[in-house]
Amino acid sequence: MQTIIPHSGSADDSAGAKIASDAIVPHMKILVIEDDLEAAAYMTKAFREAGIVADHASDGESGLFMGTENSYDVMVIDRMLPRRDGLSVISELRKRGVNAPVLILSALGQVDDRVTGLRAGGDDYLPKPYAFSELLARVEVLGRRKGTPEQDMAYRVGDLELDRLSHEVKRAGKEILLQPREFRLLEYLMKNAGQVVTRTMLLENVWDYHFDPQTNVIDVHVSRLRSKIEKDFDKPLLKTIRGAGYMIKDEG
């Protein structure tokens, strides 16, 4: 189940957010440029509950000013803004050398809308309406991206190891055989270890389809993967985050 912005946040939602706030993201600072004040107020509050400092700008010009003057880890920019269009804000920011990752929110929700958004310099795209847990997971992954070099050739979570070159997966030194798609699934989860990864993010990054998987297709794949990496071991690594998605993490 997912919770949807705007309108009231729910108990379920903050629960999801609290779990995420336990993740190792100390004091991320983000900028939200959104003209819908109610949605913006809900968003900043929910981000704060998740341990993220969120500044808010309500139009394109002031958003551009704040984005240029301050240094943010991530920017969440609505596509349609008064005084300056969201896409133009992004390209202007890029022109001024601001490289913070940008997530585009759009009510247009067309397939080619995502492409134009990413072409304008955005890093991720989320059509409205969306679940806050989805937004939070994506913002955290974007904020983290800065620090993690893409070139890591191997990932390690607890006693689970993944070698991106040889495509070998081992747990406690014992080799685990995975299908190519299962390997990519685990690779994406481990790349974002300690962070919530939603079903939509998995569909996007592992299967390259950009829509909401309405049935439990992703869950079935994850549970298959889970049984392969956890069956003969005591400690669970791959957790289901209720109302949000999945997270791989070694709880020590």
């Binding site: 189940m1 997912q2 919770t3 949807i4 729910s10 108990a11 379920d12 929700g109 067309q110 397939v111 080619d112 492409v115 309406p129 679940a131 798609r181 299967w207 389809y209 950009h210 829509f211 909401d212 998987p213 309405q214 049935t215 439990n216 297709v217 079935v220 794949h221 298959r224």
Partner: protein, 474 residues
């Protein structure tokens, strides 16, 4: 008064028939005037030429007579000729230019001085008429003998004003006939054709006022107007049908959204009146789930209408259908496996179409979703088949199940928005899955075919849904 007439004329001029007739009159008048003047000029020229020729012949006769019989014979011949009715003009003049004999009283001064043809028509006075009578115009040839004697032979050109009168008369008659013709044209077009146009615009006024059942009048002649009316009527029929469909869709939408909204409202009311925290939380979770479902429905509806409007046509590229169908099958294989279904693929490699990969993917997802949802029910073979093949310029992507299938008479309806078979109403779903697939096929210039997987089986005929794409050329 004058202003009123002007106003009236302006109003009349707004009519196409009047404007056309006026234009025709003007054109015809110009043509007629040109013709009349051209013909007169031509006939005048011919007349002069003929006259000159007869004069020339007479001059030669006179010359010969003079050579043969001297001045006496010359005088005799001229005397005789001058007396004949309608005779030419004859003048015999002395060296000083005084007229000695002939049938002319006087000529314009200077005419007799120059030998040969007179340059221009000149005035003269006939002998018979009184002094002061009107002068006539003539042309003449003057012959000069060695002894200074001059002879002029000429011909009257007739009364030029009379000639002009005839020309003017002809013009008037022509213009009168043309005016009459224009009136006839105006009556022909204005009274008949324009009336029909007026009837057509009256009918369109009613249609614009909202009565889509109105039709334009069609005559029996099958002329341009009738053909125009017929095609406009066909267009109206199509619009009426589309409008009807639209109304039905919005009725369906209203109806199908009312149910979950009512459920949502009831759940909220329940949650509000609930004191126990855990029950309340459960009710709230139910509300969120219900809202999610509603949002999905709205998203799917929006998606369908956008695809139908073709607004995604911009993002078309080569899509590897073989890879896409294999990917989707791979994605759904574990899901099918969970409910005890085998997912079998028969995919011809290397087939691609020009299309939108996301939309085609979503369409295949929807078909697989449906197949998995319903296949497990029937008593048929527990398997789902994904087939991709090409033949005769078409690429066919089929998803086949062995479930209860869809009765033949319902197959057209299942692609309609919100349509669900009675048996499937209890299952989760928006009732929009196949509508989207059909819209996607429309965008790709293809079509959707529904058939039974196994016609012979009574209890589990199954359903085969086939996406038929036109193959990429070349």
């Amino acid at each position: 008064m004058f202003a009123r007439i002007v106003n009236r004329a302006r109003l009349m001029f707004r009519s196409t028939a009047v404007r056309l007739s006026a234009l025709y009159i003007l054109l015809f008048a110009l043509c007629a005037a040109f013709l009349v003047f051209y013909v007169t000029a031509l006939s005048e020229k011919t007349l002069v030429q003929q006259t000159r020729q007869t004069i020339q012949e007479e001059i030669q006769d006179i010359q010969r007579a003079y050579d043969r019989g001297g001045i006496n014979l010359l005088l005799r011949i001229m005397e005789r000729r001058a007396r004949q009715p309608g005779a030419n003009l004859y003048v015999i003049a002395g060296p000083s230019g005084d007229i000695l004999a002939g049938n002319v009283a006087s000529v314009q001064p200077g005419v007799l001085d120059k030998e040969g043809w007179t340059d221009m028509p000149f005035g003269y006075t006939p002998y018979s008429e009184n002094q002061g009578a009107r002068r006539h115009l003539a042309i003449a040839n003057v012959l000069r003998f060695d002894n200074g004697l001059r002879i002029m032979i000429g011909r009257d050109l007739g009364d030029p004003s009379r000639f002009r009168y005839i020309v003017r008369q002809a013009l008037m008659v022509a213009l009168a006939i043309m005016g009459l013709g224009a009136l006839v044209i105006w009556f022909g077009i204005g009274r008949n054709a324009l009336k029909r146009i007026d009837r057509m615009s009256a009918a369109s006024q009613k249609i614009m006022a909202g009565d889509l059942s109105q039709r334009l009048p069609v005559g029996r002649s099958g002329d341009e107007f009738d053909r125009l009316s017929e095609s406009l009527n066909a267009m109206l029929g199509r619009i009426e049908k589309l409008n009807e469909g639209l109304r039905q869709v919005s009725d369906n939408i209203a109806h199908d959204l009312k149910t979950p909204l009512t459920r949502l409202r009831n759940k909220a009311a329940d949650a509000l009146s609930e004191d126990r925290e855990d029950v309340r939380r459960h009710a709230l979770e139910g509300i969120i789930g219900e809202s999610d479902q509603l949002i999905r429905t709205f998203n799917a509806l929006l998606m369908i209408s956008r695809v139908e409007a073709g607004s995604m046509a911009a993002e078309m590229s080569d899509v590897d259908l073989s890879a896409a169908s294999a990917d989707c099958a791979e994605l759904y294989e574990p899901v099918a496996d969970e409910v005890g279904l085998a997912l079998v693929t028969e995919i011809e490699p290397g087939l691609s179409v020009n299309g939108n990969r996301e939309l085609i993917g979503q369409a295949i997802f929807n078909l697989l979703d449906n197949a998995i949802k319903y296949a497990a029910e029937g008593g048929g073979v527990p398997e789902i088949r994904v087939k991709l093949s090409s033949a005769a310029g078409l690429i066919r992507l089929s998803v086949c199940d062995n479930g209860p299938g869809v009765p033949a008479d319902k197959r057209e309806e299942v692609t309609k928005r919100f349509f669900r078979l009675d048996a499937s109403r209890s299952k989760p779903g928006t009732g929009l899955g196949l509508s989207l697939v059909e819209a996607v096929m429309g965008l790709h210039g293809g079509r959707l075919e529904l058939s039974a997987t196994d016609e012979a089986s009574a209890e589990a005929p199954g359903l085969t849904v086939t996406m038929v794409f036109p193959a990429v050329k070349g």
